[in-house]
Symmetry: D3
Subunit: 239 residues, 6 copies
Amino acid sequence: MTRPSQRANDQLRTIEIIRHYTKHAEGAVLIKFGDTHVICTASVEEKVPGFLKGKGQGWVTAEYGMLPRSTGSRMDREAARGKQSGRTQEIQRLIGRSLRAVIDLQKLGERTIHFDCDVIQADGGTRTASITGAYVAMVDAVGTLLQKGLLTETPITDSVAAISVGVYQGQPVLDLDYIEDSDCDTDMNVVMTGNGGFVEIQGTAEGEPFSRQTMDQMLDLAAQGIQTLAQLQTQALAT
Amino acid sequence: MTRPSQRANDQLRTIEIIRHYTKHAEGAVLIKFGDTHVICTASVEEKVPGFLKGKGQGWVTAEYGMLPRSTGSRMDREAARGKQSGRTQEIQRLIGRSLRAVIDLQKLGERTIHFDCDVIQADGGTRTASITGAYVAMVDAVGTLLQKGLLTETPITDSVAAISVGVYQGQPVLDLDYIEDSDCDTDMNVVMTGNGGFVEIQGTAEGEPFSRQTMDQMLDLAAQGIQTLAQLQTQALAT
Amino acid sequence: MTRPSQRANDQLRTIEIIRHYTKHAEGAVLIKFGDTHVICTASVEEKVPGFLKGKGQGWVTAEYGMLPRSTGSRMDREAARGKQSGRTQEIQRLIGRSLRAVIDLQKLGERTIHFDCDVIQADGGTRTASITGAYVAMVDAVGTLLQKGLLTETPITDSVAAISVGVYQGQPVLDLDYIEDSDCDTDMNVVMTGNGGFVEIQGTAEGEPFSRQTMDQMLDLAAQGIQTLAQLQTQALAT
Amino acid sequence: MTRPSQRANDQLRTIEIIRHYTKHAEGAVLIKFGDTHVICTASVEEKVPGFLKGKGQGWVTAEYGMLPRSTGSRMDREAARGKQSGRTQEIQRLIGRSLRAVIDLQKLGERTIHFDCDVIQADGGTRTASITGAYVAMVDAVGTLLQKGLLTETPITDSVAAISVGVYQGQPVLDLDYIEDSDCDTDMNVVMTGNGGFVEIQGTAEGEPFSRQTMDQMLDLAAQGIQTLAQLQTQALAT
Amino acid sequence: MTRPSQRANDQLRTIEIIRHYTKHAEGAVLIKFGDTHVICTASVEEKVPGFLKGKGQGWVTAEYGMLPRSTGSRMDREAARGKQSGRTQEIQRLIGRSLRAVIDLQKLGERTIHFDCDVIQADGGTRTASITGAYVAMVDAVGTLLQKGLLTETPITDSVAAISVGVYQGQPVLDLDYIEDSDCDTDMNVVMTGNGGFVEIQGTAEGEPFSRQTMDQMLDLAAQGIQTLAQLQTQALAT
Amino acid sequence: MTRPSQRANDQLRTIEIIRHYTKHAEGAVLIKFGDTHVICTASVEEKVPGFLKGKGQGWVTAEYGMLPRSTGSRMDREAARGKQSGRTQEIQRLIGRSLRAVIDLQKLGERTIHFDCDVIQADGGTRTASITGAYVAMVDAVGTLLQKGLLTETPITDSVAAISVGVYQGQPVLDLDYIEDSDCDTDMNVVMTGNGGFVEIQGTAEGEPFSRQTMDQMLDLAAQGIQTLAQLQTQALAT
């Protein structure tokens, strides 16, 4: 089997992480997983939602959107339709949980970091790119708080990144693009920390149910991909 | 460690499956996973949604709801608030995908089966109970179509059931109730067919990220629980 | 004339009142008017809506819903459509007014009792069953408050129940089921206290306008039906 | 007892019915019940709603609104809030049913008459004024259809009007204004045809439940008031 | 060229301004620009929106609506559709800005004047009539505040009025009615103070782009029309 | 007076126009007016809205959005709030009208061009940048139709661009950035064709009403700025 993208089964797309992409946000990252481009901003607000008031802890939350023509055919604008789809809500809840897994909300203090992940061009894997880019934006936003003296130590406990794995024409492959994703039997998104712990795993058999052996192979691929992403995050933050 | 429910780590709650619970629906099941009680109805409609018109295939879709006082403190009614929460949408999308995994939509023909899973009492595990009960309602609804001669062979290809597993006080446990769920480190919902194939897997580290070894233990527990549920489904359908 | 249900013109359907039907609510009743089954829960909240804050009185309010397949053909789920129908709003306003007629809101104190009447199977008369069942749930909820010492005397001043009357094939009849209701000339819902006072009356000529004489006959039937319901409520609460 | 309005207990407010109040609608009436002023328009549309297509009959429907400052203190505009209140929906459903009671929808043919009842100044009794004025607008709209030859005989079978009755300081009174309505024990709206048949009756005990005797007295008052309104409708249409 | 309305190119329609048109509002004006009739009410509320709390200044805001059958064919009711159109929002924002231009919000104090401009009959120019009438209602509302001693000097700094100009069959004309508006090349709404300052100008080339010379001619016409409107406002307020 | 941006009064910010910015859309432009960055895509759809069906002409429409953190402090996401603000609707209506002014909808044929203008970084003038960039995207989208042979001649009749002018500290200035815009007395947006015709003009006195002389000066500045923008559009399209 040859992947449509000509990549090896365990090969990521070209990853690019551009910090300070826009000027207003405390963290502003443009991340590219091949032709998937997502702007991830982190905005710090010096208050918490009502359910946390007075509890001495912070909050981290995320929203996700796609520009209407980020995809091959134009989608309706969610703001015009008056509601976010179930898919959008699933993704933004996933992003929020993933980031909360690597930040100590007590240490963050009574403030909120809002993440906005907006897809300007889509080619599969927008949620995994969003999580991976949002982590970098979070580090920058926390850096701002440290610089201003609003925090004295970082509340971030580990890095976090995400990647998709799937079964394409019978073989486990890493980091599906849109063509592969549209035609695969199984699609699984894995979120892991830089230290190799699992944060989230969401797998769906699009066609045939899959076996335990396939599951194990996919988890191996994912762990390897996440390691590479963690290194790229570190490099991007080092410059 | 002793579970709050006194159950063994690999022990399901008492499961009860009552068919023909209401009189109008083609399939109508009350399923109980301990104190979690869900009414699952299957309604057959002789048409398909717009995006499938004229394609010679059927559709299966699901909606989910909780009665406002199915829980310990009253929740707002989603119809009154004017929208379904992200959690509700996630769950009903999961139920729909799970059932579509075990039905041949071509053989179903140009008709839709709508599932409604309404929780009348909640004690953890409402989504797994919903999937497990909805499968039984699906068999009854298809039975009606076979009896009427609208179908000559069943489009159902396998059974499907779901169960939760988690890590409670450091140990993998099966079928979490509300108290365990509120206090666990990791929560994973697994959907499998009667033949042992994976359909869906959704795991979240609520606290600490979890290791590959823990993942493996949880998958073992889930597979065993699903086997028992599949037997109970068969028994319920035999009477 | 023979009624489709074979009942005498002044005969109620079989009434069943099951208390403590679910475990979380302060009052939780399953009431059956024949094949019409409604879960009525009463939830106590220790605060009042904004317009009553600081006025030293309580509030009683109700919401109503039908499970999508409680009826012969599946209805859209109101939560999914994003709004409650005019019919739903009329019914829940009626239930709320009926219960407020028999409770002293000053004596209730600054707390709210929320009623949820959810129809799990419908065969006509869902609003009258809801009111009749909700009264029983209210007594149980107030009982909880008395037991906890939050109230020292009951704020309930009388019992309340409701029944429908109509003109079917020219003759006044009591407690219409769905078949009768669909084909009747006049439909009237009457809410009365156990002491025989009128709380609400809502009559509609579906076909021909009706005369004063017919009105009088319907009111007589209703008064008699309510007396029976009041006795059944008392019996249910005695056990 | 003296009524705040100084009227006798069985005395209507000054009623004024102005036809052709605006120029576009097929029927356009400004009706005044004292200081309650409502514009009632009837708009003919040459099609029917989806559920009636091809059934060879027409439809009559109504919408109701209040200008934000038609009342003593400004209300939120329903269009700005994004939904109609339960009260609004109850009233417009009542108006629609009342008009359908006196028109033969078969004879109307496959067309719809939309009524819009917009309150420009409110002083109690807006729904009864709306029904009474809308009937006059309906006659004018049907007159237009007869003139154009779209109808050869009127589908209107009787006149219809509405009035409120209540118990104010212990005595039954006719046509409550806002001050009386705010302070009455019982409020009942009665819709009757010119021939004296009941179309709708909606009574509510605001304070104490009311007796059968009081009910009878209120019905007598209402019947007398409706007779007067029917005469005023006839006079208005004669000019 | 002759205008459909037979008016000279620089001729306004017959303008009528009726104060105290309804009884509840602090200012209540019915304004007629020919067959365009708008009720403009000003409602004083003794508080300000959240974003102005504690800033020692007042606020002026406006809402706009059209009765469904104010136009030649019935429009959907915005309250029933559940949202205001883009056109409605544009117009009400324009009205609000226009009025704020001639009132000193500091001198108004911490209170809000809400304007409601409701079109009961439309024949073009509803937004210009709304602004012109709302100004008169504002003077009356402020008069009420002065009378009650809540203000000691008027916060109103100038008068404001609005008129449309356009290019109809090649010639600049003043105050377009509906027929002219539907068929014109350019449509411009101009809001000016009584002292001749520009407050708002909104011009649109419906067909061909227009030249600077045409722009100049239209501005001349508008300035002249506004002068006349300012005089009519003064006269109306003098009586 | 010195402008905060140090620019001469008649000086535009640095303008940059990048074509083919994303890969899916028929036209995809990133336009920069200084620190204001907008992605403008043109999407061709081979059908028209319902109101134009069968009329043998095309349609051009636009939507506008701002990423939540395109601004100094994070704004609510309109998709999450469930509706577009009045400001958003005004802007997208303006963009649509501006583009329709320079395209022959008959020649376009029965197809729609949807424009999406999404602000990724805002510093004043987002609507003028949107119009100016969308024109370039329109030329590219039409180019695609010509290449595919779906059109044989261009329906575009002229170019169109937009710029803001205002009065800042008493002096007319061109192309206001955010700081100038927040503090100016008058703000006017002007849309003109490459041939110098006016398409739209929208001016607002934020503070003092402005005089005819100021109006004339602002129109002169705008005409000059538009000329420069038209040249830059031509250059961008030539490469």
